[in-house]
């Protein structure tokens, strides 16, 4: 073969197996079975005593450093190392070189990746610090005093009218963001549903429909999505959930649709999505019935009519340059919740160039949208949900101080279930059984264990949020919302501070 074929197969990582620890001589072949990417193969070897055994070894073809083999090896005999890089050039970094090699040696085509943007853009959360009580007011010990983090989402009037509006009740201000059935398997959906209903918050089905088996038990904690592909959308579907979300865009791929390859469309997915088995499920980039804000209004009210105004309607958009004005339009179009997804938001599959280069950071987007809605006096008409790059509980609270009512997290859900951030969800080979429907892999998710991990995560973040609030002398999360006074910027320029609406540290 020509050299070209070797070029495309130099992978950035590979496993190294310490044969002094490895137990292959007694028949262990776990790693080779755990690696779903075909990186580890077994070579027959005859031992001195005549027994035939199989020795695992790296193929140097397809490791993505998902770390599954490392975590599953009972003898801790494996670790993953970086391959000697393509280049030592300071400007032509391995990423750029590698991508060009890939594109030149395949038949052209758009580079696909999973997960969120990896670029060096500033993480504003790291430049925002909380205030804390000293002397003049007492901090509150959440272990000794009540601490309230319950949040309601939905439209409210600008003055008292004694009416009950349809609201979502969140016992923690964190929901699980949209990830579709198809991208994920049913077990992961069930784990999300179980965890959120036990904790008292919500999960989002994404655009791939809501499996019939989950509707009755978990509908009350489920947000169903209506996206451009309209997969699985029926009257029953809309009525099965606690809220309906119209997905206009997502942070990982603003302005881009979706594509679930036919080979992933199994019988069950075909039934839930209401598309023929084995056919590609395409979500167009725009909704072809929404070319303007008036069209969105019609869809919002068409859904509201269907659900008899019983549950709130959310509209999800990617954080783009003009996010504040768009949010205002959406509020006026009748949405009860606006979910804004920053450019760091994850996905199962997105074109690399879009993921890395489109959209804006959630911190700036949420601050701008909140301020705009207040200036227009309509902030009470909608709740804001921030998402896209929320990495820890303090990010949650900072987003709330900047103006969000609550957040969506999705990548943390995957990580809690094992995900090693290898960015290859679109291949359907996930070694953790998360983003795959393949029999043999999907079973790697145990619903109860997965739900347990997700509940742990929610509880841990909730406790940390309570600690942070207590340190600021606040015992009700309502008093944190938009409370930019309790934030200071470090190392931000004037324009950034102005947009975030915070003062610099020391001021």
């Amino acid at each position: 073969m020509s050299m070209k074929n070797n070029w495309k197969t130099i992978p950035p990582f590979h496993p190294e197996i310490d044969y002094a620890r490895c137990d292959y001589k007694n028949g262990c072949t776990i790693c080779a079975h755990e690696c779903s990417w075909g990186e580890i193969s077994l070579k027959p070897e005859k031992l001195d005593n005549g027994t035939m055994v199989y020795k695992p070894g790296a193929n140097l073809t397809s490791c993505g450093s998902c770390q599954r083999c490392v975590k599953m090896c009972p003898y801790s005999a494996i670790h993953i190392v970086n391959s000697p890089m393509y280049t030592s050039h300071g400007y032509w970094t391995p990423d750029y070189v590698g991508n060009i090699v890939k594109q030149a040696s395949s038949e052209g085509g758009v580079l696909m990746v999973g997960n969120g943007a990896t670029g060096p853009q500033r993480r504003y959360f790291d430049h925002i610090m909380f205030d804390a009580c000293q002397v003049t007011n007492p901090s509150i010990d959440p272990l000794r005093e009540p601490m309230e983090i319950r949040t309601y989402l939905g439209r409210r009037p600008s003055k008292w009218d004694g009416e009950q509006y349809p609201l979502l009740k969140l016992e923690v201000p964190i929901m699980f963001g949209a990830m579709s059935f198809g991208a994920l398997n049913l077990r992961v959906h069930e784990a999300e549903a179980k965890a959120t209903s036990e904790v008292g918050t919500y999960w989002n089905t994404g655009e791939g429909g809501f499996h019939i088996s989950l509707r009755e038990s978990y509908g009350a904690n489920t947000i169903v999505q209506v996206a451009s592909g309209r997969f699985g959308v029926s009257e029953d579907y809309l009525k099965s959930a606690a809220a309906v979300e119209i997905k206009i865009g997502q942070g990982a791929k603003p302005g881009i649709g979706g594509h679930l390859p036919g080979e992933k469309v199994s019988r069950e997915i075909s039934e839930t999505r209401m598309v023929p088995e084995g056919s590609d499920a395409l979500s167009p980039a725009p909704h072809h019935d929404i070319y303007s804000i008036e069209d969105l209004r019609q869809l919002i009210y068409a859904i509201k009519e269907t659900i008899e105004y019983k549950v709130p309607i959310s509209v999800k958009i990617a954080a783009v340059h003009n996010v504040a004005a768009i949010a205002s339009g959406i509020a006026r179009a009748g949405a009860d919740i606006i979910a804004i997804d920053g450019f760091r938001g994850g996905t199962g599959a997105t074109p690399l160039q879009i993921r890395q280069n489109s959209g804006i950071p959630i911190e700036l987007a949420i601050a701008a949208a909140d301020e705009r809605l207040r200036q227009e006096g309509i902030r009470n008409q909608v709740s804001l949900v921030a998402s896209g790059g929320i990495q820890c509980s303090s990010d949650v609270l900072k987003a709330i101080c900047l103006g969000a009512d609550a957040v969506y997290v999705a990548t943390p859900v995957l990580i809690a279930l094992g995900c090693g951030m290898c960015q290859r969800c679109f291949t359907g080979k996930c070694a953790y059984g998360i983003t795959t429907n393949k029999p043999g892999l999907a079973e790697r998710i145990d619903v109860d264990e997965a739900a347990w991990a997700l509940k742990n995560l929610l509880h841990a973040w909730a406790e940390e949020i309570e600690e942070l609030m207590g340190s600021m002398g606040i015992n009700a999360i309502e008093a944190m919302r938009g409370n930019r006074d309790r934030l200071r910027g470090v190392g931000l320029n004037e324009e950034e501070l102005r947009i975030l609406g915070i003062k610099h540290a020391g001021a």
Binding site: P138, E145, P146, Y152, N380, G473, I474, N483, D485
Partner: protein, 351 residues
């Protein structure tokens, strides 16, 4: 730390300012000489249908802004009377800003359709406060505020509050912590007939302030307390809540208790007015022409004690202030955190 005192007579029997001067002076341990102030109700019987607008001009008697403000008042209101607020420099406060008062009513034809005279007055106050260097100290009918930088007894002497007679008085002894000690930053804070004195720190200030801005209230006085009078005004006057409901909104019960009581209205109130929760430690006395309210934060992190002597009710940070004026009391109690004490002059009832 700060000290507060309130005195209210439900028979509207008036007393002069010397009583409250003594009551707040004895709390000087709680202040540091960087702020003192008083609000008095019933002091302008001759103008009781006009808004008594007390304005502080930072730049003194000859500052340019005075002309701007007065031209604005002429344009938007009927000015029935105006004069300088008499001051009497003392050895401790040899000088201060320039104070004038205007007795006005917004011009009917200037009031936008759908707005009341009160709404128009609030807009006028906000407009003056944002002009720069002119600050409306009070704007209610038949009431007024006298405040500044100094110990409260010195401020009392500076304005000679013993020359005023009122049926309801509140006073403040300031120990500023987070915000500068300046004349506009002393308590009480007011809007229309609502005045508030506050001991504590409002950790929810940012949230409360930004909520108020949506409804045309702008905080210009650099002190967290300012939000309290605005919140109360918005809730009771604009949104039509009862005083009890307004107090509930500012210091609501825990969700757990609301659910336990199956208190449907409380649930709705809290769902709607989440951003009006006043968090952080506080004890306040809030007065309006219809009565007074004493309120503590939900955790009772600041002292307030209440007492009744005949038809006079007292509230104070320290019991000594009450005992000084009246060694014998008919009743004395400490309200619990989040539980409002409400004196309603119309109904002559106390909760």
């Amino acid at each position: 730390m700060c000290g507060i005192v309130g005195i209210i007579n439900t028979d509207r029997i008036k007393i002069d300012g010397s009583y409250i001067r003594e009551a707040i002076r004895i709390q000087n341990e709680r202040g540091n000489g960087l702020g003192g102030g008083f609000a008095a109700y019933g002091i302008y019987p001759g103008h009781k249908d006009n808004y008594a607008v007390h304005i502080m001009y930072q730049g003194g008697k000859h500052s340019e802004i005075i002309k701007t403000v007065e031209a604005f008042l002429e344009l938007r209101t009927k000015v029935h009377h105006s004069d300088e607020i008499p001051i009497f420099p003392t050895s401790t406060i040899p000088s201060g800003p320039y104070f004038k008062r205007y007795f006005v009513n917004p011009l009917k034809e200037q009031i936008p359709v759908g707005q009341s005279e009160d709404d128009a007055m609030v807009d006028i106050v906000m407009a003056i406060n944002t002009m720069g260097d002119a600050y409306v100290i009070s704007s209610g009918k038949d009431m007024g505020v006298f405040k500044g930088v100094g110990f409260p007894e010195d401020i009392a002497d500076f304005f000679r509050i013993q020359d005023y007679k009122g049926y309801m008085w509140i006073a403040h002894n300031r120990f500023p912590t987070n915000t500068p000690g300046w004349w506009g930053g002393a308590h009480p804070f007011t809007i229309l007939d609502k005045a508030v004195v506050h001991n504590g720190e409002i950790t929810s200030y940012g949230t409360n302030k930004r909520w108020l801005e949506m409804f045309g209230y702008f905080c210009m006085l650099q002190t967290d307390t300012e939000v309290l009078s605005y919140i109360f005004d918005k809730l009771t006057r604009k949104d039509g809540l009862s005083v009890e409901d307004a107090c509930f909104v500012m210091a609501p019960s825990l969700w757990e208790d609301i659910e336990y009581e199956k208190a449907e209205k409380k649930k709705l109130l809290r769902q709607l007015y989440g951003q009006v929760i006043v968090n952080g430690p506080f004890g306040i006395v809030l007065t309006h022409s219809g009565g007074a309210i004493v309120l503590n934060d939900r955790n009772k992190l600041r002292p307030v004690v209440c007492a009744r002597v005949g038809s006079t009710y007292y509230a104070s940070s320290e019991e000594c202030s009450i005992r000084l004026l009246s060694p014998k009391v008919d009743a004395l109690w400490s309200p619990r955190g989040g539980e409002a004490v409400i004196v309603d002059l119309a109904k002559e009832e106390v909760q």
